[in-house]
């Protein structure tokens, strides 16, 4: 399992966080779990990069934090997407799709 994991390219973590939060507000641990689950354990987010990324996104105004209750009734910091964040997600996701399609095309060249 370990050797199936790959490092995230620069800048994609932000995109993944935004995409995850587009579904529903989530706390930091929830975000990392969700990314791991959906990517079938290929992508694992380290805490060391997750939290600085969250703080950076919050400063840019793409996500907003508020305190809420977790499933097991503990106080947790939930992040949710702002309108600006949604716009950013749309444009970045579009760019990413274009890029990956182009890269795939080049790689699949006969």
């Amino acid at each position: 399992m370990a050797n199936e994991r790959i490092d995230l390219p620069q800048g994609t973590l932000d995109l993944l966080i935004l995409r995850t939060l587009a579904l529903e507000p989530q706390h930091g641990w929830g975000i990392s779990e969700r990314i791991q689950q959906i990517s079938s354990n290929v992508l694992q987010v380290q805490q060391g990069s997750l939290y600085p990324a969250l703080h950076r996104l919050e400063r840019r105004g793409w996500i907003k934090a508020r305190w809420g209750m977790s499933e097991n009734s503990r106080r947790a910091k939930y992040y949710n997407l702002t309108r600006g964040g949604r716009k950013q997600l749309d444009s970045e996701a579009g760019a990413w799709r274009k890029l990956s399609a182009a890269v795939a095309q080049v790689l699949d060249m006969a």
Binding site: H27, W29, P52, H55, E58, R74
Partner: protein, 892 residues
């Protein structure tokens, strides 16, 4: 953007809240992770262990989060500040010395900037000063143009570039109630266009300037009202006798307005009073003299270049029908936004001054850099350890620079106080040392500091912090981590070359400044002790208003205190002689000669002996006969063989039009004809004192009461006392008749004053530079001795005498001083050449050997004496103790 800022602010000022939130967030994550492992079947202990391993250092995550929040920069800056202040508290002597040194450097530079600011940078306190331009046109010979009344009227109607124009005509100094005043005659829209209202009373109105001689009124400046009329509350309605006319004061202009032009104006009278208040031809008469200056407000949306083009076309058309030399070639616009417009000439003139003061600041910075280097050396261990445990070099450099800036800011505050004191002292000294009669003529713009001055101080302070802080910071953090860990700090740390370069630079600057000071002093001494060839003691010079001239000459003749009265077309010593082309009968080649018109009594008033022949008779003077007296030097030049007496001289037509028509009219160009030499006078200075004995001087006979001539009165008693009685006697019968009255000795000292002042300023800064240099040399040598204690100890242990140890230290210092002196003296060669061309006086030698010798000897001797204490310390080194404690002694 705003949100970003708010976020950063919250992060910065609610640091505790934010930090504890971060804590809680990370703990939540950790606990959830543990729960997840427990759920998957691990024991709680194992789950905690695994989570902890995955998590890594919570502190470094937090640090990264702080960075992401964007407060790191401010955070670390605050840390650095706190750290630096703790350091200064431990070594207050060091901090104080640095602050005092930089404060001195800044405090000396700021007054120069303050003066520059007041004259060149500060906009005039008038409405929209940046749209005001002085307009003139250039003629073929490159000279400017003053306008006639008719030209002004045409321009007012036709001008293509200005929305409004004013005409002004400066009135030379006049005396009113014993005070000298300088003013302008102005058109009726002057105050309205400049947006100046009155402090009390009213300003001039268009109605005051409706026709020639229309309104005998005057507006005075606020500072003239305060200083020369003692703030008289009943000034409005008072009648002032200006040049014998009674002008009623109708108002005082608002505070801070000093008129247009470089010299602050003290009164403004209607232009229509010109025929009454001005000498020479009537401004409104048929002769149409060229006198007016035109200042206009540029039309909105028009820039200077386009305006100049439009005006050039206008000026060329307007002068198309004139003679070649009178035709306009191009229009010229000078900004009137500040008192002195910034142009290349002003910059060239001020550069040496700025350079001299700037050098003092540089020396101060070099000193401080040296001190910081020594301190950095002592802190090598600390810095090495910090590098070893992972501090980034950039971070350390930033911290050391923070220290420098923290030292520079209090220095700026202290420098501000020093500068204020310097300006006060300078002004007081200037007025105290000026010849008594001249203080009235010198009016300074107010020299209060403003925002620009504060900005300059801050800028200079931060710049000097970078200057003195950057090199030590980079040097100090260069050390190798491995060596630092082993406790070896000196191998890679070689600031010696930099430190030596700093000392050499300081010595060079001191030598340069002291040589210049010395050369200036000797020049001014030489002028002072220079025999001008005229007996000036007991002679009073007077400028008289022409319409009173005949009566004044009459009255002087009957005054009991007066011995004799002469007149001359120019005051001796002040201004050079005018020149004319001549052909002596001894040759066919034309040469040039200086000339002056004098009445026959000139020779007796100044006791100037006629060595051969005779002086003019009263009849020759009255009739303007074709006879001349020449100076000995002139005789030798034109008739090198044989006797000049009885020979003749042909006065030629000047091929170039005379430069200034006003001058022409006043003194008269000698008519073209042949004149006979009837006498030879001893050599003397009749021209400008700075040029020395006249190389040529031709005396033409002049009438005692000729218009525009200066009266020279030999009195029986002391000139100073007689002056008072004469002034009173004349003013009593003819108020406003005397424009200027001085003992002629005072005019002479007045001419010397700038050199004296330049000498004082340059020796003051030279001495300060020397003092700073000495402290610099002292610092570097005592540091050197401390650093080499071990080596010296070994030498002594091996049998070196204390004499040889002292020689070692002395040699080091003298080598630096020698190199510095050589560099400084070489620079002085260049600088004194510039000075000589700027000063333009015969007594200023380009290479004044004595000045060079004295400057160099003084600095080298002083450098040697600065080594005394370090030498003694080196000689006292005990070999046993130094060998025992090797490292610690190096760090003291």
């Amino acid at each position: 953007m705003v949100r970003d800022l708010l976020y950063r602010f919250r992060a910065l000022f609610h640091r505790n809240v934010v930090e504890s939130e971060l804590d809680e967030e990370l703990r939540f994550h950790f606990d959830e992770q543990v729960e997840k492992y427990v759920r998957s079947g691990l024991s709680r202990k194992e789950a905690v262990r695994r989570s902890r391993m995955e998590f890594g250092g919570a502190e470094s995550i937090k640090e990264d989060c702080r960075e992401a929040r964007g407060v790191m920069f401010i955070d670390t800056a605050l840390q650095d500040v706190r750290y630096a202040i703790r350091g200064f508290r431990r070594t207050p002597g060091f901090a104080l010395t640095v602050v005092a040194t930089i404060a001195l450097g800044l405090g000396l530079n700021t007054p120069v900037f303050t003066i520059f600011n007041a004259y060149v940078l500060r906009p005039l306190s008038v409405r929209d000063p940046y749209s005001l331009y002085l307009f003139t046109w250039q003629k073929r010979d490159g000279g400017g143009h003053l306008f006639t009344w008719r030209e002004f009227q045409d321009f007012e109607k036709q001008n293509p570039a200005f929305s409004e124009v004013i005409g002004r005509d400066p009135v030379p100094f006049v005396r009113v109630e014993g005070h000298t005043l300088f003013g302008d005659l102005v058109t009726g829209n002057y105050f309205r266009m400049l947006g100046i209202n009155a402090a009390i009373g009213r300003t001039l109105l268009a109605a005051d300037v409706s026709g020639p001689g229309s309104a005998p009124v005057v507006v005075i400046s606020y500072s003239a009202w305060k200083d020369k009329f003692a703030g008289d509350p009943n000034i409005i309605g008072k009648k002032l006798a200006i040049r014998g006319y009674q002008l009623e004061v109708v108002g005082v202009a608002r505070e801070g307005f000093h008129g247009l032009g470089e010299v602050p104006r003290e009164f403004w009278a209607p232009l229509t009073m010109a025929p009454q208040l001005e000498e020479g031809p009537n401004l409104f008469g048929v002769e149409q003299p060229q006198r007016l200056r035109i200042v206009g407000r540029l039309r909105r949306g028009l820039d200077q270049r386009h305006a100049a083009t439009a005006l050039t076309i206008w000026a060329r058309q307007r002068t198309a029908d004139r003679t070649d030399t009178e035709r306009a070639t191009a229009a010229v616009l000078h900004s009137e936004a500040t008192t002195i417009a910034m142009d290349p000439l002003v910059v060239a003139g001020l550069t040496p001054v700025f350079a001299a003061f700037g050098l003092v600041l540089l020396i101060a910075c070099a000193n401080v850099a040296n001190m910081l280097l020594a301190r950095a050396m002592a802190r090598q261990r600390e810095i090495g350890i910090r590098l070893a445990i992972g501090a980034a070099r950039a971070r350390l450099v930033r911290q050391l620079l923070t220290e420098s800036v923290l030292l520079a800011l209090p220095a700026a505050v202290a420098g501000f106080a020093v500068s204020k004191a310097t300006i006060d002292l300078g002004e007081r000294l200037m007025f105290a040392t000026l010849p008594r009669g001249f203080t009235e003529y010198v009016t300074l713009l107010p020299l209060q500091p403003d925002l620009r001055v504060l900005g300059f101080m801050l800028f200079a302070a931060v710049l000097s912090a970078l200057l003195f802080g950057l090199a030590p910071a980079i040097q100090a953090t260069r050390s190798n981590v491995m060596q630092a860990a082993r406790g070896e700090f000196t191998t890679d740390f070689r600031p010696a070359r930099l430190r030596n370069a700093l000392v050499v630079g300081q010595v060079a600057v001191s030598v340069l400044l002291l040589i210049c000071a010395m050369a200036l002093l000797r020049a001014s001494n030489r002028i002072e002790h220079f025999d001008v060839g005229l007996k000036t003691r007991g002679v009073v010079a007077m400028d008289i208003v022409d319409k009173f001239r005949a009566k004044v000459v009459q009255q002087l003749a009957s005054e009991p205190s007066v011995r004799s009265v002469a007149s001359a077309s120019k005051l001796p010593f002040v201004g050079s002689l005018p020149w004319m082309p001549v052909t002596p009968d001894s040759s066919s080649e034309r040469s040039w000669a200086g000339y002056i018109y004098v009445s026959p009594e000139y020779f007796s008033v100044f006791e100037l002996p006629i060595v051969r022949g005779r002086k003019f008779t009263a009849e020759e003077a009255q009739g303007g006969e074709p006879v001349v007296v020449i100076s000995q030097a002139t005789a030798r030049l034109f008739w090198p063989r044989g006797d000049a007496l009885g020979r003749s001289l042909r006065i030629e037509q000047d091929p170039q039009q005379p430069r200034s028509l006003a001058e022409n009219l006043r003194i008269g160009i000698p008519p073209q004809r042949v004149v006979r030499v009837i006498g030879i006078a001893r050599d003397a200075v009749n021209g400008y004192v700075g040029y020395g004995i006249d190389q040529t001087c031709v005396f033409f006979p002049g009438r005692a009461d000729a218009a525009g001539y200066v009266l020279l009165v030999r009195v029986k008693r002391d000139a100073e006392v007689a002056l008072g009685t004469l002034d009173k006697a004349i003013t009593a019968s003819m108020p406003g008749a005397v424009d200027e009255i001085h003992p002629i000795d005072e005019a002479l000292t007045g001419q010397l004053y700038p050199y004296r002042a330049a000498y004082w300023v340059s020796s003051a800064i030279g001495c300060i530079a020397l003092l700073l240099t000495l402290s610099g040399i002292y610092g570097i040598l005592s540091y050197l001795v401390t650093q080499r204690t071990k080596e010296i100890g070994i030498r002594v242990a091996l049998g070196a005498s204390s004499g040889s140890v002292v020689r070692l230290v002395l040699k080091q210092s003298l080598k630096l001083a020698g190199i510095g002196a050589a560099v400084g003296a070489t620079a002085a060669l260049g600088v004194s050449r510039i000075l000589a061309s700027q000063l333009d006086v015969f007594v200023f030698e380009k290479v004044d050997q004595l000045a060079y010798g004295m400057g160099i000897v003084l600095v080298i001797a002083a450098s040697a004496s600065a080594t005394y204490v370090p030498c003694v310390r080196a000689a006292r080194i005990e070999p046993v103790t130094t060998l025992r404690c090797d490292l610690d002694s190096r760090e003291t």
